[in-house]
Amino acid sequence: MASNEMKLLGAWPSPFVLRARIALNIKSVEYEFMEENVLVTKSDLLLKSNPVYKKIPVLIHGERPICESLIIVQYVDEVWASGPAILPSDPYDRAVARFWAVYLDDKWFPSLTAILMSDGEEAKKTALEQAIQGLDLLEEAFTKCSKGQNFFGGDKIGYLDIALGSFLGWVRVIQIMANVSLIDESKTPNLFKWDQDFSGHDAVKDVLPETDKLVEFSKFLVAKVKGSGTK
């Protein structure tokens, strides 16, 4: 492989893979997308490139693999420094964006998936409350980060837009499957508008998975996860 060739090991439903794709699109980087069917089997290349976690996404730049979605996004931002910036330039704004991205992965996304995956109405209700609380915090964070513009990154999509925006497909799925409202025009007006702006953005719209395909996939995923628990 040439030293500047790019491969991305991923899967179309994964929000984490989507983050890498959006970052590469922002920088207009060409890459080969290699679809992994991780629920069935993991390729030798994936196992070799990510021996620690054996998970997607993995970006392979030349011969070198980079793993973990947010680390990939930062790597792409730093290598293609002449392209549109993904992280803000000010260290404090960068720290705020990183803080919220960590929050999303460590706290918010687990509560989001728990709405679908947990057993019993009480557990689902608790998960829903936590997810909504998180969105309230993000609604507030949007005002501070956007500084009156359309995105968390200001006038262009940035790190936190990518970190949260990658979950929008799954937010829509959960709203449909659990019959709940998460991003709501009246309760979270900033996020509601931001959702539309982000989803329609050139770097995003062609890689965002279609909601009905994701709904079908989620039914399969829930059945697989819950099925394996009862065996």
């Binding site: 070198r64 793993c67 404090y92």
Partner: protein
């Protein structure tokens, strides 16, 4: 304008010490506010309303939370004595392994610490497996950062301090110098480095604290 720098931390939190060591490498002066987590100050709740946790760095009134995020902030604001490597790939590796340390290494060591008997025996293999990755990383290097202490050394620093305290309490050797010659050497080099030496919580208090933390797990089995 004079820089106003404050660090909210507890006397023992290793995450707080990541920031202490980072600030020391940069030669920065700051005010320390020691928090009692059973009785959090109004200031802490104001500066970290989301998690209400330490450490929190406050720089000219603006708060930065999450120890690894704070380290990157310090590195980007005060560019002398860099903590992170300059090369994007090396930087990505440092970030990856720091995350691995927090998500896998520490929890697996903790599992050994809080379990007993057969359960403890079974917890050892995953912990050793995780530590082997760190041993590999140190090949040809004195520190994870190369010749000098860097971001990844600070991220793993709590291992240098805590592992032998936990080993003493459970009477079990995890980082055996024969199996982990590089990691053992690193723990010694890190602990005795002028920046780190004497910049740790008091050992006897730590032993007492972790013995107390282990108690509830012992009662479960009995």
């Amino acid at each position: 304008m004079a820089e106003e720098l404050k660090l909210f931390r507890t006397w023992s939190s290793p995450y707080g010490f990541r920031v202490v060591h980072g600030l020391k490498i940069k030669g920065l002066e700051y005010e320390t506010i020691l928090e009692d987590l059973t009785n959090k100050s109004a200031s802490l709740l104001e500066y970290n309303p989301t998690h209400k946790k330490v450490p929190v760095l406050v720089h000219n009134g603006k708060s930065i939370c999450e120890s690894l995020v704070i380290l990157e902030y310090i590195d980007e604001t005060w560019k002398h004595c860099p903590l992170l490597p300059q090369d994007p790939y090396d930087k990505a590796m440092a970030r990856f392994w720091a995350k691995f340390g927090d998500e896998k290494v520490l929890p697996s060591i903790w599992s050994v610490f809080i379990s007993q008997g057969k359960e403890q025996e079974e917890a050892v293999a995953p912990a050793v497996g995780n530590l082997k990755f760190l041993e590999e990383l140190l090949k040809g290097k004195k520190f994870f950062g190369g010749k000098t202490i860097g971001y990844l050394d600070l991220a793993f620093g709590l291992l240098a301090n805590l592992v032998n305290i936990l080993e003493e309490i459970v009477d079990l050797k995890l980082v055996d110098a024969e199996i982990f010659p590089l990691l053992s050497a690193w723990m010694n080099n890190f602990s005795t480095d002028p920046v780190i030496k004497d910049c740790w919580p008091p050992r006897d208090k730590m032993v007492e604290k972790f013995k107390a933390m282990r108690e509830p797990y012992l009662k479960k089995v009995a």
